[in-house]
Amino acid sequence: MDALSLAVSVAMDAVLVTLVLAMAALGLALIYGLIGVINLGHGAMLTIGAYVTWATTHAGIPFAAAVILAALAVALIGLAFEHFVVRHFYDQPFETLLITWGFFMITTEVIKIIFGTTMHPVTSPVTTPLDLGIAVLPAYRVLVAGISLTLIFLVAAVFYRTGLGVQIRAVIQNREVAGLMGVNIGRMYKLVFVVGCGLAGLAGGLLAPILSVGPYMGNIYLVRSFFVVIMGGVGQILGGTIVGSFLIGGSETIFALFSSQVFAQTIVFGLAIVVLRFRPHGILNRR
């Protein structure tokens, strides 16, 4: 392989890793950025999405439908969780952090009881690699990257181009005044939380063919997603998620070229801490 095609394939790989990671982080970015809940159950929600996808495809349901079912299932769980627990703690961020970690503990155990601890493979719906002449790309990752990009723009479009988006932005800017203007704040919070959970479920389903499905598969994405959000800047859903994903995922790919995966992860972790120290509000936030 010559230098040019190596460079192209590394660059393409970095783009794909970035967008796949952005997909995983999007639900978290929404919930944290818009309603300020540190959802430590995000990783568990990815895991649930992956398990639903595995179980339904195993039962003969086509992959696309399985992923949508995964999103719906996790959204539903999120709805129940929000309604019965989380909504009573919106003004106590530290307590929601603990409670969502409890969500992780409980759901992980339930998954272990129902499905056991063995890893399950999910066969990818598209397997033929994409040959661009200069580099060969894994087709399924390209598909996920495309969905990821679409979803990010879709979320941004809802946020900046619809009446609903105006209401959500109003609630974020000034909760009391928005409430006085007739925005149903409780419903907005619920909506954001449930959509964020649904996106986590969707991401989990889409990640299932890339990773092996196991009870702790979401854990590593939980912390990565947080670094994405923190580095990109909390509340910067469009740009922040992509920039953050690139810094975390892309740099991990590049460092992994020269060293082991674990070492690369450690370096990126150090890098994230350094960035946090000098830009505590993220790369894109000036405040």
Binding site: I38, V85, H88, P93, F94, E95, L97, L98, I99, W101, G102, F103, M105, I106, T108, E109, V110, K112, I113, N219, I220, L222, V223, F226, F227, I230, S260, V262, Q265, T266, F269, I273, L276, R277, F278, P280
Partner: protein, 347 residues
Amino acid sequence: MTGAGGQPRRASLVLLKRLAGSESGIAIPVFVFLAALPLFGSGYTVFILPQYMLYGVLALSLGLFWGFAGILSFGQSAFFALGAYTIGLSMKLGWGGGIVDSGYLGLILAVTFAAALAAVVGFFLFSVGIRDTYFVIITIELSIIAQQVAITQSQITGGGNGMFIDRMALNLGPIGSYSLEGDLAIYYFVLPFPVIIYFALRWLVGSKFGKVLIGIRENEDRLLSLGLNTSLYKTAAFALSGALAGLAGALYATHASFIAPSLGGVLFSTEVVVWVAIGGRTSLLGALLGGILVAWISTYLSAITPEYWQLVLGVLFVVVIVYFKGGVAGAVSRAIRARRALALNDG
């Protein structure tokens, strides 16, 4: 109360009541019980209990930081594992070259390394006033990395196969060396650690340092405006917390004689958080007893019903967070205060 004999009885009762009302009134009997336990406990209890006492020390390390400075750490297992692997390597490779006892050196280095790691991470982040919630996430990553390093650096750590460590000997210099191979010997070697650390921390939280920590928990901005460098206090508290976790890990390693990468992982850190939350995060005794008892019950019930017990523990954790912020210790002290108020009203 009537009758002439009432007065002295009443005085001793008041003393007893005061003792029962304070934490020491529970702590001292507990420690006496632990000291006497080998007289009537089974061999297995004597073998296993030091492990839980060390879990208690680990819980104390978190109780100090979470309960008093109000900042949660999911990184305690990373310090615990760092301490455990440090003493393991020291004894295996004979650090100290025969001049310094490798067990002692291992203990000292375990504490030093863990404190240094915590101090570096803590200072780096606290000095820019990072949010407590971000700190929590970074400590989660800290334990993820600790476990992965322990797994992948297998030529040093033994990887997933773990590491076998001998029990250290109590080297008394010219007098000779006392073996801690026996379960009874190591029981009494370990016992003073939770006792001394508990009372030292009790003293510490009552000192100016402790008051500043509580101030940080309650209203950090006010302390800042009073001109206190809160980041230094937070760093010091985290370093101390890391040091205690490292010490607990090192003692655990030499007691258990075997360590594995899971000791550094997020799941173990979570267990520590659960012990402290259930025991009571604002009470050092609650944290200590939470570590000892919840871990003890956990192991016992995990043997009977592994999956469901973990599930119960998760539910219990959420229930404590939602309904009983102070954990068992908080509930007990509230009950005592309510009874006292009732007694005052009656009297």
